[in-house]
Symmetry: C2
Amino acid sequence: MCKDVAMPTPPSHVVAVLALEPVVGFDLTIPPTVFGAATRADGTKLYDVRICGLELGAPVRASAGFSLIPDYGPEALAEADTVIIPGTYIPQPRHEGSLPDDLAKALDTIRPGTRIASICTGAFVLAAAGLLDGRPATTHWQRAQMFRDLYPQVKLDEELLFIDDGDIVTSAGLAAGVDLCLHLIRRDFGSEVANRAARHCVVPPWRDGGQSQFIERVVPDEGSEGTAPTRAWALARLDEELSLPAMAEYARMSVRTFSRRFKAETGQSPGTWLLQQRVRHACHLLETTDLSVDRVAESAGLGTAASLRHHLRSELGVSPLAYRKTFRTG
Amino acid sequence: MCKDVAMPTPPSHVVAVLALEPVVGFDLTIPPTVFGAATRADGTKLYDVRICGLELGAPVRASAGFSLIPDYGPEALAEADTVIIPGTYIPQPRHEGSLPDDLAKALDTIRPGTRIASICTGAFVLAAAGLLDGRPATTHWQRAQMFRDLYPQVKLDEELLFIDDGDIVTSAGLAAGVDLCLHLIRRDFGSEVANRAARHCVVPPWRDGGQSQFIERVVPDEGSEGTAPTRAWALARLDEELSLPAMAEYARMSVRTFSRRFKAETGQSPGTWLLQQRVRHACHLLETTDLSVDRVAESAGLGTAASLRHHLRSELGVSPLAYRKTFRTG
DNA sequence: CAAACTACTGGCCAAAATGCCAACATGTGT
DNA sequence: ACACATGTTGGCATTTTGGCCAGTAGTTTG
């Protein structure tokens, strides 16, 4: 936002964002926002982002409840250093690999060596164009099965936020596009710039920090392997004691191994995870029941109300009653 | 995305998003995306999101590099249960409180009791309309000073992601709008629905979990109070030992107090923070220098290369050399 | 004015997390 | 078959973490 900054020398790196009807509005606005926030320390912009359509001046329907008129037409693709395909409703390839003529023609104008990225279901377009054959890719997890059915030759892994395969980069749904853009900025200009952009976009404590996981688990793993069963087991008895050794025993692992694997799988240590689940459960109870604060604390395994109060305070910044008051749904 | 689901009974809750030229495209698309993802377990949508402009059919310029034509005109405001003002370039109130005629008139049609929310610099509009007088609010941190100068009567706190003051809710920049929408969904329909929406939007491990901090620190605190100086001091000597007692001593606090305040200020325990900084610094070195992996590990205070390898692996999922290869900028 | 309440501090200690190591697997090239 | 890299496991020792408690202000209330 608010990037009407002076631009002494025009940014050299051109990013073209191709809006294909009906385009997912959110995906479309991610690249201009994030790349637009990439500046040198002195404020000079580093990217020139161009929204383009298949026909200059023609309106494109966006899923978000409006139509848009891109500033550029398909010619922008030929001048781009990076081309980004935001999500669009899934193009149904009647014959595999077939694309609408104008789209196919437009894609053909992309210079060899241009970096191509997709957000969300934009990967379907890349796949239909044959660009992903035999390569790793990702897309929105809710469309993963459909993708696999349509394009079995693509190595889809919907568990990752995005996949960087050099000149082709695909990202998972919606918000993962932000990570993708930040990743590209980091690749192009380093962490400093990417971090500044992230801060500008108020991607807060989140993956702001910088490196953040540039590969990260998205889909919840509900397997019957590893620590997953133990987690389910623990969730069912949050009100009990649940010491680390007890959980390790249930998992039939040594405490050491259990801790290690737990952290590898969830990204949190067992204790932290457990506490989070307890607080979460307490919140749930506050929302959906009339139990007293004491009772809630007890049922969530947080012992006393004081303890609940403390954790709620530190995690959400509110007292239990305030929380209930705010979220109590009629 | 992809929410062309059957809609048996139309959603009852109407959300109107007012696009004011030049609108921040990203902010604008957040509400339709997030609210649009709010469904019952059976898939029925819960909100009817309407993008509207001040004049039906008139194009509105978006900062992202396109113009858009909203589906609705200003009449949508009168029918809304919730009105959202996305960011827009800052309206300069020549006389305090003065708004363009058409905007003022449009805002007047909002029914009393309607919930009004702003994203990013949308708060300037609410403030200019006098809706925030004497009330707490937030906006994009980069515009906080300007906001304070213009509207000293508003209790601005730019440290929070969003502020829920009942019928008026304001949120910080850009991505914080996602949190705001999720918060409103949670208020309206509970955690389950909000969580499902978050998952759909691939707001991953982030604040997905649900409650997440519905108040959270955004702006980095670089003061000369509390543990901040100690953190700076620690950053300058990451290659040394830096035990917890040592840091506490530097901070002139007991270990206990130091830990407590550290966590309160940073949201992390000292150890976790330190490790993260070390890894971060190691990444920086990998990016910008040719030091051997061993040397990098040493300079970052991670001891051996094995240790570095391990942490990089667990945080970013890559080996040190792979990281360097990916991010080494010409 | 005293009791009650809150906020902050620091000490103590049990529990948890984690670095390090040695013991095995498993796989790989010679 | 053998040396060797790679990955996993569990034990051990150490540090870190955080619950609990008591002491000390500063503030409010009866």
